[in-house]
């Protein structure tokens, strides 16, 4: 095979792969602007925004999206605060069990959170926390903390210690050192952790599905599921429109941190969280 033939073959393979990945998206994109959409792939020539108009009501999408924002947002803020505080001694002090602690955190990130939901549910039921949004947020925070502390510590390690020395000379303790010097210098890192946690919880379906009791508390992930699990009388166009409106924020936020996250995949020889 000549060089040119090889390049053409590789290009063709990439084209087929791209089209195959595009396939499942097509229906959602087309059906959302088709007034009488079915599951069929054959589009008509009509175009309308009726589906978007139909789902943009308080019960259908606005309240679920607000719930999603509240759940993902508070989990994200809490995770950043708690992991930022935790990262300071882990980054700055030589603690005896630091390595053990960090390795335990890394180990925890591998545990199947899905399995933990049964005991969490049993525990919530026992202590009357079932259906409580704050309690669920604390659980979601706990499940995001191991990875967030890892990322935070790595970002904090990147801030040179000698920048803090002036503050120490002035008598600043660790609180001022963290909030006035380290925090501002690692603002991009904090943003990455915050958005990473937010997007992760935005798509989380199982935890709210199991831990929340009424539809008024459910985030969009659960609403869109109930939307299409009741086959038969589904307004497919509206389902597609809902999916697009629900997905858009996650995509926008992902694009915002894409550049920073790409670096996280380089663990050929080491972990650089």
């Amino acid at each position: 095979m000549t060089r040119l033939a090889a390049r053409v073959a590789a290009g063709l393979a990439l084209l087929i792969i791209t089209l195959a990945f595009l396939g499942p998206f097509l229906w959602v994109l087309i059906a959302s602007v088709q007034p009488d959409a079915t599951l069929s792939a054959a589009p008509t020539l009509t175009f309308s925004l009726d589906n978007f108009e139909a789902v943009l009501t308080w019960e259908t999408i606005i309240l679920p999206l607000i719930n999603s924002i509240v759940i993902s947002g508070s989990t994200s803020i809490l995770t950043v605060l708690v992991s930022g505080l935790a990262a300071y001694p882990l980054s700055r002090y030589q603690l005896r069990y630091r390595r053990h602690f960090m390795l335990t955190l890394l180990f925890t990130t591998g545990l199947p959170v899905t399995a933990i939901l049964v005991p969490v549910y049993a525990m919530f039921f026992r202590f009357n926390l079932y259906g409580s949004v704050p309690a669920m947020v604390l659980f979601l925070t706990a499940s995001s903390l191991p990875f967030s502390i890892w990322m935070m510590k790595n970002f904090m390690d990147g801030v040179p210690v000698n920048l803090e020395e002036a503050a120490w000379v002035d008598g600043a303790g660790w609180v001022r050192s963290l909030t006035a010097v380290v925090g501002p210098l690692m603002a991009p890192g904090i943003a990455v952790v915050a958005i990473f946690v937010f997007v992760g919880q935005w798509g989380n379906f199982f935890a709210p599905f199991v831990l929340l009791d009424t539809p008024e508390k459910q985030p969009a992930a659960v609403t869109v599921f109930t939307f299409f699990s009741e086959y038969g009388q589904v307004a497919y166009g509206q389902l597609a429109a809902f999916s697009i409106l629900y997905t858009a924020p996650a995509v926008v936020l992902y694009v915002a941190v894409n550049k920073y996250l790409a670096g996280s995949f380089n663990f050929a020889g080491s972990v650089k969280g």
Partner: protein
């Protein structure tokens, strides 16, 4: 806990005070405290709790909900004699091997290899589409595939056949959907790993007359083998616990034809409210997950923890 000194500080009789006032336990316990508390109550707590209730007959309805009894290993005896559980275990194995180990891993590597030496436009278009499948929420991914595999759907139209995939081949359907969803992760891992492979090494082999296949097999793959192993462990862990996509697509059905272990656990714990039995399943999953996680930790070399 002694006062921490920077390694490069000069050896003087009394170590210079570097850092803020940091004496006693409080200097690290105060900032670490909130994290330790939340992790203990909401992560370590439930795991330990599951160890306890897996040995009881706890339910949410009936008499065992008020006073559950210690039943020893009865749940585990029942579990490993339960054909539905063993079936779910086998399906989980098929799902992980098919969608993660073979599907995502191989396809991710192929895409990363094909992209080398391509222009920026090609790379960003391919990356964009593959990553989009990864970024959409799992329920939306399920909705996409639900229509894609429908009788009138895109796949049948392209192939020119009539087939109710979700009924006739539910495992094929969920495996395909999960490959679509997860390949981006492997692709990103392998793109990063391949960028570290020294180009002159590959070129030298080409000069020596090694074809593309031999260069891949004897040079590139051995150089990135740590990444391959680490990636295999990570995607196995992610796929083992996969719930939302399968649940939304097939609900484990028809019958139990696509009921992997997480779905079986869901059914026992949340539909029949057999919390003790469900926790026993959860514990089995946690132990398997812990084993893979330990292998992962051994594989990667953590530079500075």
């Amino acid at each position: 806990m002694t006062v921490a000194t920077a390694p490069q500080s000069p050896p003087v009789t009394s170590p210079p005070q570097r850092g803020p006032a940091r004496r006693g336990v409080l200097r690290w316990l105060l900032p670490l405290g909130p994290a330790l508390l939340i992790l203990a109550v909401f992560l370590a707590g439930p795991i330990l709790w599951s160890v306890y209730i897996a040995f009881t007959n706890e339910t949410l309805t009936g008499s065992a909900s008020v006073n559950s009894q210690f039943v020893g290993v009865a749940n585990f005896v029942k579990l490993f004699g339960d054909p539905t559980f063993l079936n779910s275990f086998f399906l989980t194995f098929v799902f992980v091997i098919g969608s993660a180990v073979i599907g995502q891993n191989t396809l991710g590597l192929i895409i990363a290899l094909l992209q080398r030496g391509r222009g920026r436009v090609t790379r960003s278009v391919v990356n964009g589409v593959v990553i989009a499948a990864w970024v959409v929420p799992e329920v939306v991914a399920a909705a996409c595939w639900f229509s894609f595999l429908a009788e009138e759907g895109t796949l049948n139209t392209v192939l020119g056949i009539q087939q109710e995939w979700l009924y006739t081949a539910p495992m094929v359907a969920v495996i395909l959907a999960n490959i679509w969803r997860g390949t981006a992760f492997s692709m990103l891992v392998y793109s990063a790993a391949l960028s570290e492979v020294p180009a002159d090494l590959v070129e030298a082999a080409a000069v020596d007359g090694a074809g593309p296949g031999r260069r891949l097999l004897h040079i590139t793959l051995p150089l990135i083998r740590r990444s391959i192993m680490a990636n295999l462990m990570l995607i196995t862990l992610q796929t083992l616990a996969s719930f939302g996509l399968i649940y939304a697509l097939t609900g484990g059905g028809p019958g139990t034809a696509s009921q992997t272990t997480p779905l079986y656990m869901y059914e026992q714990a949340f539909r029949y409210f057999e919390i003790g039995y469900g926790s026993a399943i959860a514990l089995v999953m946690l132990v398997i997950g812990a084993l893979f996680s330990l292998i992962y930790l051994r594989l990667i070399k953590v530079e500075d923890a």
